[in-house]
């Protein structure tokens, strides 16, 4: 319980590093970008209060923005994702609620639940991000295609990371 805070801080730095140094420079086939840093918001413990979640989302987005030179679009998207997280969690809650001291990982929940939970948050985040980035509705279907393809890629990366790190059930 005590080492949850350092664990999350380390995870924050690792994910920001991966995003900024590797993924921002490795785009697949032109317009698809994965944004794996959203995994940090996904993996925060269930007990995180909503207001703290919002502030963490804001800071995470701002950090990515500063390093990508895209001031505030990641902040807008990540704050929205952080706001949406408690609602998504209620939507997918198991019959007897979430057990305390567990986190939304493959260690405690099955693969199907993880996929549903991740995909919804990733879709919310990416839709907001790409729409705010373009800031207009011309070429809407082009943006839509970018949203869908990038969401699929990010979700796959998130599922792979869950399988790698939390498979020991």
């Amino acid at each position: 319980m005590i080492n949850i805070i350092p664990q999350n801080i380390i995870r924050f730095f690792v994910l920001v590093f991966i995003q900024v140094v590797i993924l921002n420079n490795l785009q697949f086939s032109g317009f698809v970008n994965p944004f794996i840093y959203i995994l940090f918001i996904l993996l925060l413990p269930f007990e995180t209060p909503s207001w703290l979640l919002l502030i963490i989302g804001f800071i995470t987005g701002l950090t990515i923005d500063i390093f990508s030179g895209t001031i505030a679009i990641h902040t807008i998207a990540t704050t929205l994702a952080a706001y949406a997280r408690p609602f998504v969690l209620t939507l997918f809650a198991p019959r007897d609620g979430y057990e305390s001291r567990t986190s939304p990982t493959l260690k405690y929940y099955d693969l199907l639940w993880i996929i549903r939970y991740s995909v919804v948050i990733v879709l919310i985040h990416h839709s907001c991000l790409f729409l705010v980035e373009v800031f207009r509705f011309s070429g809407f279907f082009y943006t839509l295609l970018r949203i869908i393809l990038s969401s699929i890629l990010t979700s796959i990366l998130i599922i792979i990371s869950q399988l790698l790190f939390y498979k020991n059930k």
């Binding site: 909503s50 500063i66 390093f67 895209t70 706001y83 980035e133």
Partner: protein
């Protein structure tokens, strides 16, 4: 007596309202915080799009710039070979311009030239330390800034053609909006006919851009060279931008849609030159004094 009663009732009403308001605020504190944070983020975005960036962003550029400098000093080694080829080509082109290659045919003309020609543009060499091509709003970071004489609104070119316009500078770094940013608009003309339009980007492929506002009656053909117009006081006239790849026109529209194949390879940028127009302030002041009338 009656007045007193009304007053006390009024007071209790107020306290009741205050309590309700407080309850309301506490109940929806998360939603309020969310709205507040989003408003802050949107404000930064809009200011960043339309005005100069706040000074705190400049300071953060200084921090992230240093990290990118270390990163690019590692990545640089992988591009050394390509970059050497490009520099060698440029060297040859420059050597052709050396004074020793020319004969002085008339002493009088040579002296007159010194009086007629004054230097208008100066160039500052800089290195690209961060670059993106796949976003809608791409940016480039350079390793030089205010301390090295770079100012906002200076043009940036390399040996292949135009690169973009400086948007912001910190003490040792600067951020460039390249041609391939959906917010970039650069004045350009077709070299053959001298008709000018605006070069912009549609956000799709980093190798192509659009030239708008060329009227319908102008003759355009595939392969025409597009160069900078020199009207904006940012770029000198005649810097190559690209060639016409394709063009068409919509019925009812007086302008062509012209697709330009950009001459600059944005995927592979390293050394660039920042253009400083020595007469820019004079031109700006004169132009502003006319528009303010």
């Amino acid at each position: 007596m009656e007045l007193e009663f009304i007053e006390s009732e009024y007071k209790s009403l107020i306290s009741f309202d205050m309590r309700n308001l407080l309850k309301f605020l506490i109940h929806y504190h998360v939603a309020f915080l969310f709205v507040a944070l989003e408003v802050v983020a949107f404000t930064i975005t809009i200011q960043n799009n339309f005005y100069q960036r706040a000074s705190f962003i400049n300071n953060t550029t200084e921090i992230s710039g240093n990290i990118y400098r270390i990163y690019s000093s590692v990545v640089e080694y992988f591009n050394v070979r390509n970059e050497n080829d490009k520099l060698a080509l440029e060297n040859t082109a420059l050597r052709k311009l050396l004074k020793s290659n020319y004969i002085i045919n008339d002493k009088n003309i040579q002296q007159a030239n010194d009086l007629i020609y004054k230097q208008k543009y100066d160039y500052i060499n800089a290195k690209v330390i961060n670059n993106s091509v796949f976003r809608q709003t791409n940016y480039i970071t350079l390793n030089k800034g205010r301390n090295q004489g770079i100012k906002p609104d200076m043009g940036v070119i390399n040996s292949q053609g135009i690169v973009g316009i400086v948007k912001d500078v910190s003490y040792n770094f600067s951020i460039v909006i390249p041609t391939i940013n959906i917010n970039a608009h650069i004045s350009a003309k077709i070299k053959k006919t001298d008709y000018f339009g605006t070069l912009s980007w549609d956000g799709k492929d980093y190798r192509y851009a659009l030239l708008n506002e060329i009227p319908f009656h102008v003759k355009v053909s595939k392969g025409d060279t597009v160069v900078t117009s020199g009207y904006s006081s940012i770029f000198p006239e005649g810097i190559i931008t690209g060639v016409v790849k394709d063009f068409n026109f919509n019925q009812g529209n007086n302008f062509y849609n012209i697709y330009i194949q950009l001459s600059t390879d944005f995927m592979n940028l390293n050394h660039v030159n920042v253009v400083s127009n020595l007469y820019k302030d004079e031109q700006k002041i004169l132009e502003n004094s006319v528009t303010h009338d």
